[in-house]
Amino acid sequence: MSRKPLRIGAWLPPAIALAVFVLLWQLYADHHPYVAPKLSKVLSELDSHPRLFARNAWTTLEEALVGAGAGMGVAFALALVMFYVRVIERALLPLAVVLNVTPLVAIAPALVVAFGFGMTPKYVIASLLVFFPFLVNALAGLRDVDPEALDLVATLHASRAEVLWRLRLPSSLPYLFAAGRICMPLSLVGAVVAEFVAAGEAKGLGTLVVTAASLGDLGTVYAAVVVLAVLGVAMFGAVVALQRLVLGRYRPSVGARRG
């Protein structure tokens, strides 16, 4: 089974769109250098300080990954508890919904007060942002099991643990991956916002953006944004690659719900 080569119809439209975007940007930047720096300037920033961007990218990536891992892990554990203990679901789901509609980044300053300028507030914000979408999808995944397959294992007197392991977890994997594709970029948002608020640590792309902006150095700001975009794409791509590896081609894809 070979993958279809990317046909011209697939890559040409986005390529043209990108070219048009670059052109418009350049035209605009010529007349408004303090709104949009020239792309050549952005690229030369990247080119002349690769170490700076790499180091800060690494910090932000670590914050996002640790935060996402913790948030998704806790969300999944809670989804299991909520699934098996209905009372807990009824008690906690409304709270989680409120949490979800609250712009959680607003508590970032409070977290800095609580935890200082270290990594902790960044982890916490990133994990808070991924928590709800992952929880909702994990719950949906644990529920979405073929009822006839459940009947079948019930006639075999399968234990709860066996049903979880043999049916519910495999059935929930497409949901978990779909949630992962949403959560990875979200965790990056969380890390960057936390850095905006707690820039004292002097590390991370968010910190770099704030510092450079205060100096009017738009080239560095946009260079950092480009690096963030690359990180986001890489994290998303990693989830997709892992999904391909784990689920192969035999699973119908399931659309994730956004929290």
Binding site: D151, A154, H157, A158, E162, P170, Y250, R251
Partner: protein, 260 residues
């Protein structure tokens, strides 16, 4: 006849679904005994409670009154001992497992029950059902008829003494049905299992059964029990004999009575 000759016994079964205005009376006093080793088919109009009867025997539905016993024990004991092979109407295969792994599933759950000495080998079973080349394929790569064969293999693989099958061939074309029914007859004949089989097909009922149970939607119970005294083993030729056609006719007339 001693009581132990009865594999499945339904006694005074009543079942109503829903509450208030939504109440649906499905079974109103059903008594039925299925003897050990018999192939018994349940037929009747849609909604008369065939699936409910089967699900009661499988422990998936609780009766409002009355009892079901399997080999003198409760349904709960029978499932705990893995004595029931259940074939649902949809094959209910796990899409992430290969054909072979799907068949092995019953051996992987509830392992407290020791596996039967006489249990057939999964690969041999699948080969006998014409799936020898498909062991490593995924369910979605199979036709509907092949998926049903996998579901049948899965019910036989742990050698349960009772098979409960709910219209397993309903979703496939007539020719495939015929071939499935002969595959089933072949592996069943050698196994000595007791089968309770639900169908809508008159031909299927006569071709497979020792006894056909006709259920009625009007009385919510059993309308008539027709013994099928055709010789075994049966091949496809039996379906053209005058005796077979006469039984089909009798059954058809009986069904017509019950659906008024």
């Amino acid at each position: 006849m001693t009581p132990t000759d009865d594999a499945i016994v339904f006694r005074g079964l009543h079942k109503t679904f829903g509450r208030g205005n939504e109440r649906v009376k499905v079974l109103d006093g059903v008594d039925l005994s299925v003897q050990r080793g018999q192939f018994v088919t349940v037929i009747g109009p849609s909604g008369c409670g065939k699936t409910t009867l089967l699900r009661l025997a499988a422990g998936l539905v609780e009766p409002d009154a009355g009892s079901v016993s399997l080999f003198g024990a409760s349904v709960a004991d029978a499932t705990a001992e893995k004595r029931i092979g259940f074939v649902p109407q949809a094959p209910a295969l796990l899409p992430w497992r290969t054909v072979l792994d799907n068949v092995l599933l019953p051996l992987q759950v509830n392992r407290k029950v020791p596996s039967s000495k006489a249990a057939p080998d999964a690969v041999e079973l699948l080969t006998a059902l014409g799936l020898g080349d498909a062991l490593q394929r995924r369910p979605r790569e199979l036709s509907g008829g092949m998926q049903q064969r996998v579901a049948i293999a899965r019910a036989f693989v742990f050698d349960p003494p009772v098979l409960l099958m709910d219209e397993p061939f309903a979703a496939v074309d007539e020719l495939t049905r015929e071939s499935l029914r002969h595959s089933l007859l072949t592996i069943w004949q050698a196994s000595g299992k007791t089968v309770l089989f639900v169908t809508h097909s008159v031909t299927e009922a006569v071709a497979l059964s020792d006894v056909v149970v006709v259920m009625s939607a009007n009385t919510h119970g059993i309308q008539r029990v027709i013994p099928i005294d055709l010789p075994r083993p049966r091949d496809d030729l039996v379906e053209t004999t005058p005796e077979f056609l006469a039984l089909e006719r009798e059954l058809r007339l009986e069904l017509r009575k019950g659906s008024k």
